[in-house]
Amino acid sequence: MKKFVILIMLMFTACAACAAEPELIVDKAKGEVIFPAEINGKYLVSYTKHAASFYKGGNGEKSLMRALVSELDFHQALLDLGAVPGDNIKIEDMKAKSSAEGKAAEGSKLKIFLTWDGLDNEVSLDDAIISEVKDGEPRPFDIRFSGNFEFASKNRPGCFICLDSCAAGICTNASWPTGALNNQEVKFKGNGKILPPDGTRVNVIVRLVK
């Protein structure tokens, strides 16, 4: 029995070693970074403020997509691409009671697309995520390289892409300043009609807008 258990454990170890390690791809010629992630089905039916977070980070299970590579490597990849971090949102700014009092993220402008096996084209973040706005129309995403490396490396929330302006995410959304979510001016969730089901591996393409 003991030998059988050891054999099973060895088989699992061998399988784990054979499995391809998820990779972050930096394509300087195309001006894009691609990271692998998995869909979290929870946020196809409920609200979140995170588009993607590192699965080992504090917000790994609080995000529409579980990124399979580290957010700190992602930050470096964007620097390698030539993107400039905004680093203008501080943790005190997150206490804003409404977007009118809040601050919008700065930094290099980015466009985000998703793709997965069986899909012929790319899906933009605007199509992948539903914005429910209290008063007014949904705003197109204005994703910026917010930076926030110091906060991210110290606290490890794991945030890759936040859906509002934020002091924690490597990339955040300048369309909604800090305070917008505190005031429930907008709510975000995954578009279940477009996105694949829970657990599906997707590639997230982050393009630098020049």
Partner: protein, 100 residues
């Protein structure tokens, strides 16, 4: 589970707290509190109907198949599929019923 689902409905709390851990902590507390009591199949059936119905009213048809499993997955800290967790929930319910 009903308590976790009610807490889940508060987005502010859901974004900041591991509700799966709260679910397991509450389950353990209820298990200890009810230890030694023989509540019977009637109580089990009524509580199952009440909790399922209330969860369905709160979460809707789409949410009921996803949210309870997602709460448990978060508590376990494992990247299991939601379908797999739902099968485990069904197995627990059936085995629990047989054990009564």
């Amino acid at each position: 589970m009903l308590a976790s689902v009610i807490l889940f409905n508060n987005t502010w709390l859901e974004m900041r707290v591991n509700l799966g851990l709260i679910f397991f902590a509450l389950t353990a507390l209820i298990f200890i509190a009810l230890r030694g009591l023989r509540l019977g199949k009637k109580f089990a059936l009524l509580s199952l109907i009440f909790i399922s119905l209330t969860c369905w009213l709160i979460l809707g048809s789409d949410g009921i198949a996803i949210i309870p499993a997602a709460i448990i997955r978060e508590g376990l800290g494992l990247a299991l599929s939601l379908n797999y967790i739902n099968y485990i929930i069904y197995a627990f319910l059936i085995l629990g019923w047989i054990a009564l």
